[in-house]
Amino acid sequence: MVTANFLLAGVGGQGTLLASDILADIGLRIGADVKKSEVHGMSQRGGAVTSHVRWGARIASPLCEKGAVDYFIAQEMLEALRWIEFVRPGGTVLLSRQQIVPTSTVYGADQYPADESIFSVVRQAAGKVLLIDARRVAEELGNPRVANGVLLGALSAQMEMPAEDWLEVIIARVPQKHAETNRKAFIVGREKDWAI
C-alpha cells in the first residue's frame, strides 16, 4: 500500500483543484483509501488555493498535518514559501518556476520575495527540491494549460510508480482536445532530472 500525503498550492486559475482531483483518482486506482480537501468559493478570484490529498490504508483526517506532507507540489514560487511549513523534514518539494505577482506588490509597498530567498527556505525545509520549468515546457508544447501535466510527470518519477496508472487517469480527466499535449507534458516532466 502506497501511503502518502500531498499538498498542492497555487493561485486561482492555475488548475490546482483539477490536478488534485487527478492525484486522488490515481490513489483510488491503486487501491488506496483516499481523502482530499480544499476550500472553494474564492479560488476564481485570484486568491491563494491549496488542496490536500492523502493516500493510505485507512485515512481519517482529510487535511494533512503541518510538518507531515511527503510531496509538496507548489505551482507558484510565492505560494511555495507560504505553505512550506507543511512539508515534513526530509520531504520532497516540486517547485514550479512560475511567478504570479499579487496586486499588493503593484499598488503597494509589498515586495515579491527574491528567488534566492525562496530557494534557501525551501531547501532548508525539504529533503529534496525539484525546480521545474513547467510553464516553459507547457508553452513550448503550445499550451500553457498543460503545466500541471509536467508537474505530475515529475511527481510520478519521484514516487517510482508506473506511468500508465497516471496517464490513463490524466487523459480521462482533462479535456479531450488537450489529452495528447498533456501526455507529452507528463513525459517531459517524468523523464527530466529537475533536482537542484
Partner: protein, 599 residues
C-alpha cells in the same frame, strides 16, 4: 457496488436522489452551493434557485406538506434568514419527509461571522445529524428523511466547510421511490394561529422526548472503545482530527448531535477515566453533558474560535498534557509575505463603480457579493458591510442619524431580490432620501455564477422570466431612477450626483456585466512603453492584469506599467484613468464574439 470519490456536497446530492427526494430548493452560499448544483443533474428531482433561503425553505416545506420528500439547503447564515420558517415547521411537522441541510463555516472561509448552528436544533426543538465524511453525508440524507416521517418533524443535517468540500470514498446505491403521500386538510396541524400553535407545543415537547430515546440506539452514535484512560466525544470533521491525534483513545462518535443520548453518554463516561469533548466553535456537547451532571472537559483545552485542523487539535492536546509528542516544529525565516486575497477579476464592472465612489468621497454602505471586494486596497471605497440586504437599511439609518457625509447603498442584483427590496420599499414609504446603487452584473457571482431573478437563468441554465429591476423600483414608487452602464464613468458619476442631489429616495442601476456572463467589446489593451511615465495611476485600480514592468521611466526612475495580454479582457478602465494616454485600446472584437452585452 460502485464506489466513487465524492465531496460531502456531491454526496448529499446523491443521497437526496437515492432517498427519493422530489423537490429541492436553495439560495447559493458557500460552502453549501454545490449541493443544489449537483441535485440539478438528476432529472427526477425538481430543483430551483430560490430568491432567498427563507423562500427556499418555505418551498421545501410546502412540497413536504403536499406529500413529496423535500430538501432545502443553505449556508449557516442562510438559516438565520430562514429561521422563522424553521420554527413554524417544527410546530406543524411534515407530511412527507423534510431535510434542511445547513453548512456551517468555522474559520470564516467566506462568511461574515462564525456561528455554531447546532444551537438551532436545540432552539427549534428538532433533530440534527452531522456527518464526518462523504459516505455518512450520503447515508444521513435518507436517515434524516426516514426520521422526519417517523417523528413528524423537520430534520437538520449539519455540515461544515470541511465536510462539505472534502472528498472521500462513497458506495453508491439505487434510487428509492416512494408513493406520494396524499395531502389532507388539517388546520389544527398546518395553520399556526395561536390557538392551534398552543396545542402543538406539547406535541413538539413529546416528540423531542421520543427523539432523545431514539438517539440512544441511533446507529450513527457509537462507542469505539480503545485505551480507557481517555474517552473522547466528537462529531463531524473534529472526530477525524481527533482520530489522528489520539489513535489509541476510546471514542463516543456522535452522528445524531441533537437530541443527545444521555444514557449512552453516561455509560461511556463511566467506562473511561477522563472524558473530553473535541468540538469546533461552541461548547455545545460540553455544556449539554455538564447539564447531565457528568464531569467533562472541552473548551479549557481546545479553542472556541476558528476552524480545527490536525495541528490545532494536537497543539492544544499537547499543551494540556494529553499527548506526549508536540507538533513537528517547522519555523522558517520567510520575512513578511505579500498576501494574496481574492480580488475583483480583470474587467469586472464593480471596479468602475468603486473607482468613482472613492473619487466622490461618499460613504458606502455595501452588501454581500463580489462587490464586497470594493473594501480591499487599493479601492478601499467601502464603509460598512453586514449581511445580505443590510446595505439599504443601514444607509437609511445613517441618513436618519445625520451622517456628516453623503452616503449611498451598494447592492447586487441577486442580493437586491434576496433581501434588498423590503428596505427600499421602506425608504420610499418613510420618505428617506437615500441613494441605492444596484450593481447589476446579471449573475450571483461570488458563489460561482448562478442564475437569479434579474438574470432569469434557471438552475438548469434555461432562460426563464427576467424580473426587471427598473420596473420593480419604479413600481415601488421611486421617482428618481437612473440606468447607466458603469463603463461610462462620467455618465455613472453624473447619475450618482443627481440621485444624491434629488434629496429623494433614488436608485441608480449600474450595469456592470460580469466577465463570466458577457464579454467586453475590445481585445486586450496594451501599454505604449515609451509613453508611460510610471505615474502608477493604473496600478491604483487594482486590476490583476496590470503589473510593474522591469522598465524604469528615465526621468523619475519609476517602473512602467505592463498589461498581461492573457489576463486583460479589454474593459478599458486603465485607458480611462491614464493621464499621459500611454495605453492603447484593444481592437474591436468581431460581432459574433460578443454575447448579449448589457441586455
Amino acid at each position: 457496488m460502485m464506489k466513487k470519490l465524492l465531496s460531502g456536497n456531491e454526496a448529499l446530492a446523491r443521497g437526496a436522489w437515492e432517498a427519493g427526494v422530489e423537490v429541492a430548493a436553495a439560495y447559493p452560499g458557500t460552502p453549501s452551493t454545490e449541493i443544489l448544483e449537483n441535485v440539478a443533474h438528476y432529472p427526477e428531482i425538481y430543483a430551483e434557485w430560490s430568491a432567498n433561503e427563507k423562500v427556499a425553505l418555505d418551498i421545501a416545506i410546502g412540497a413536504a406538506y403536499a406529500g413529496k420528500r423535500a430538501m432545502a439547503t443553505m449556508k449557516h447564515v442562510g438559516l438565520n434568514v430562514a429561521s422563522e420558517s424553521l420554527f413554524y415547521v417544527s410546530y406543524t411537522g411534515v407530511n412527507a419527509g423534510l431535510v434542511i441541510v445547513n453548512a456551517d463555516d468555522p474559520g470564516l472561509h467566506s462568511s461574515q461571522n462564525e456561528q455554531d448552528n447546532r444551537h438551532y436544533a436545540r432552539f427549534a426543538k428538532v433533530p440534527m445529524l452531522e456527518p464526518s465524511d462523504s459516505q455518512e453525508a450520503k447515508d444521513m440524507v435518507g436517515a434524516a428523511l426516514d426520521l422526519s416521517e417517523q417523528f413528524d418533524t423537520p430534520v437538520i443535517l449539519r455540515t461544515t466547510t470541511r465536510s462539505s468540500h472534502a472528498k472521500s470514498v462513497v458506495a453508491l446505491g439505487e434510487r428509492k421511490v416512494f408513493p406520494k403521500r396524499p395531502y389532507e386538510k388539517n388546520p389544527q396541524k398546518y395553520v399556526m394561529i395561536p390557538g392551534h400553535a398552543k396545542r402543538r407545543h406539547p406535541v413538539v415537547e413529546a416528540r423531542l422526548a421520543q427523539l432523545a430515546e431514539y438517539a440512544e440506539t441511533c446507529p450513527f452514535n457509537a462507542m469505539e472503545m480503545g485505551d480507557l484512560s481517555l474517552g473522547i466525544v466528537a462529531a463531524g470533521p473534529s472526530y477525524q482530527y481527533a482520530r489522528e491525534v489520539f489513535p489509541h483513545a476510546s471514542f463516543l462518535k456522535l452522528g445524531m448531535v441533537w437530541p443527545m443520548p444521555k444514557r449512552l453518554i453516561a455509560e461511556f463516561a463511566s467506562r473511561v477515566k477522563r472524558l473530553i469533548v473535541v468540538e469546533e466553535l461552541d461548547p455545545f456537547f460540553e455544556e449539554n453533558i455538564k447539564i447531565m451532571g457528568i464531569p467533562v472537559e472541552g473548551k479549557t483545552i481546545f479553542p472556541v474560535v476558528d476552524e480545527f485542523s490536525p495541528e490545532v487539535v494536537r497543539q492544544a492536546a499537547y499543551a494540556a498534557g494529553l499527548v506526549g509528542q508536540p507538533p513537528v516544529e517547522r519555523a522558517f525565516d520567510k520575512g513578511a509575505l505579500p498576501m494574496r486575497p481574492p480580488v475583483l477579476c480583470a474587467g469586472c464592472g464593480h471596479r468602475d463603480v468603486f473607482w468613482i465612489l472613492r473619487k466622490m468621497k461618499v460613504t458606502v454602505n455595501s452588501d454581500i457579493g463580489c462587490y464586497a471586494l470594493g473594501v480591499m486596497p487599493p479601492l478601499t471605497a467601502t464603509d460598512t458591510i453586514g449581511c445580505m440586504g443590510a446595505s439599504i437599511g443601514v444607509a437609511t439609518g445613517m441618513r436618519r442619524g445625520d451622517l456628516e457625509f453623503p452616503n449611498v447603498a451598494v447592492i447586487g442584483d441577486s442580493t437586491f431580490f434576496h433581501a434588498g427590496m423590503p428596505a427600499l420599499a421602506n425608504a420610499v414609504y418613510n420618505q428617506t432620501p437615500i441613494t441605492t446603487i444596484v450593481v447589476d452584473n446579471r449573475t450571483t457571482g461570488m458563489t460561482g455564477h448562478q442564475g437569479n431573478p434579474a438574470s432569469g437563468l434557471s438552475i438548469h441554465r434555461d432562460m426563464h422570466t427576467r424580473v426587471d429591476i427598473e420596473a420593480v423600483v419604479r413600481g415601488m414608487g421611486v421617482e428618481e431612477v437612473h440606468t447607466v452602464d458603469s463603463r461610462d464613468l462620467k455618465g455613472f458619476e453624473e447619475s450618482v450626483k443627481q440621485a444624491i442631489k434629488s434629496n429623494k429616495p433614488a436608485v441608480v442601476i449600474a450595469k456592470t456585466p460580469c466577465v463570466f456572463v458577457t464579454s467586453h467589446p475590445r481585445e486586450a489593451y496594451q501599454v505604449v512603453t515609451e509613453d508611460c511615465n510610471g505615474c502608477s495611476m493604473c496600478f491604483r485600480i487594482g486590476c490583476p492584469a496590470i503589473s510593474k514592468s522591469d522598465v524604469l521611466d528615465e526621468k523619475y526612475k519609476r517602473p512602467k506599467a505592463y498589461i498581461d495580454p492573457l489576463a486583460c479582457v479589454g474593459c478599458g478602465l486603465c485607458f480611462d484613468v491614464c493621464a499621459p494616454q500611454a495605453i492603447l485600446e484593444g481592437a474591436l472584437k468581431q460581432e459574433t464574439m460578443l454575447a448579449a452585452h448589457v441586455a
